[in-house]
């Protein structure tokens, strides 16, 4: 169901995601909706998320690629640009989206966001405040949450 006229571009992108996955990232379409992907991102080394396995979901809206994919974290994460519902503040998912970007670039950008939290453009005010006032402590909390919620168990 729901997969007729799946644009060639989406088919191509999916095939490539499956055959040549980016390091630390996996994305596979769900069986009953080829526009809906189960995504897994490994916490980057040297980041507070190292050792964590983060689950996300991604959906390609009807307008894709003229509109950005919709993505959110399903795994709880302590990060200034990600809110309690897993929504992500990332420019390429909003006004900086371009049809030249792909699912792969989006996921790589999210992985990069884990390595470089940006508390100056926060989605979670409290976490951003914590990050700016006491970065070492905020990083500790992020590590703790990674152990608690993203251990991959």
């Amino acid at each position: 169901m729901a997969n007729s006229n799946l644009p060639r571009r989406i088919i191509k992108e999916t095939q490539r995601l499956l055959s040549e996955p980016a390091p630390g990232i996996s994305a596979s379409p769900s069986e009953d909706n080829m526009r809906y992907f189960n995504v897994m991102i490994l916490g980057p080394t040297q980041s507070p998320y190292e050792g964590g396995v983060f689950k996300l979901e991604l959906f390609l809206p009807e307008e894709y690629p003229m509109a950005a994919p919709k993505v959110r974290f399903l795994t709880k994460i302590y990060h200034p640009n990600i809110d309690k519902l897993g929504r992500i503040c990332l420019d390429i998912l909003k006004d900086k989206w371009s049809p030249a970007l792909q699912i792969r670039t989006v996921l790589l950008s999210i992985q990069a966001l884990l390595s470089a939290p940006n508390p100056d453009d926060p989605l979670s005010e409290n976490i951003a405040k914590h990050w700016k006032s006491n970065e070492a402590e905020a990083v500790e909390t992020a590590k703790e949450w990674t152990r608690l919620y993203a251990s991959g168990a």
Partner: protein
């Protein structure tokens, strides 16, 4: 797995659909006589919601504020949410003891389609309050709850 196999149009999955509804609810709907929001900002599955309906003009409900609880289970929006009034109300489609909106007596839930939203439910219930069989019914005291 076969890519690009049979089917129809684009289906927005449950969670993204509820995120859309959340954002719409946060912006505010129409004239503000119906509204809704999430109960638990930490629930990643966005199951429990509170809706509000302001009683329509020229009915016994005028000026009253009704609170409802909507519960969107894992199978939403294939299946409708369960809907019940928290504020006491006397209405033909609402169970007198529990406040549950009975699907058998409320067409939108009985003939549910996945395109329908919580906004549609609240808007339709508001219309139902103004229907001839409801608009003059004697009501319980204001500010009482099921």
């Amino acid at each position: 797995m076969t890519l690009g196999s049979a089917g129809s149009s684009v289906v927005v999955p449950r969670n993204f659909r509820l995120l859309e509804e959340l954002e719409r609810g946060e912006k505010g709907i129409g004239d503000g006589t119906v509204s809704y929001g999430m109960d638990d900002g930490d629930d990643i599955y966005m199951r429990s919601w509170t809706g509000t309906i302001i009683g329509p003009h020229n009915t016994v409900h005028e000026g009253r504020i009704y609170q409802l609880k909507l519960f969107c289970d894992k199978d939403y929006p294939e299946k409708p949410p369960s809907v019940r009034f928290h504020s006491r109300i006397n209405m033909t489609c609402v169970n007198h003891e529990t406040g549950v909106v009975e699907p058998k007596k409320f067409g939108l839930l009985a003939n549910w389609q996945r395109e329908y939203t919580m906004e549609d439910i609240l808007t339709q219930l508001k219309k139902e309050m103004a229907a001839p069989h409801n608009r003059k019914l004697v009501q319980p005291p204001e500010g009482t709850y099921f």
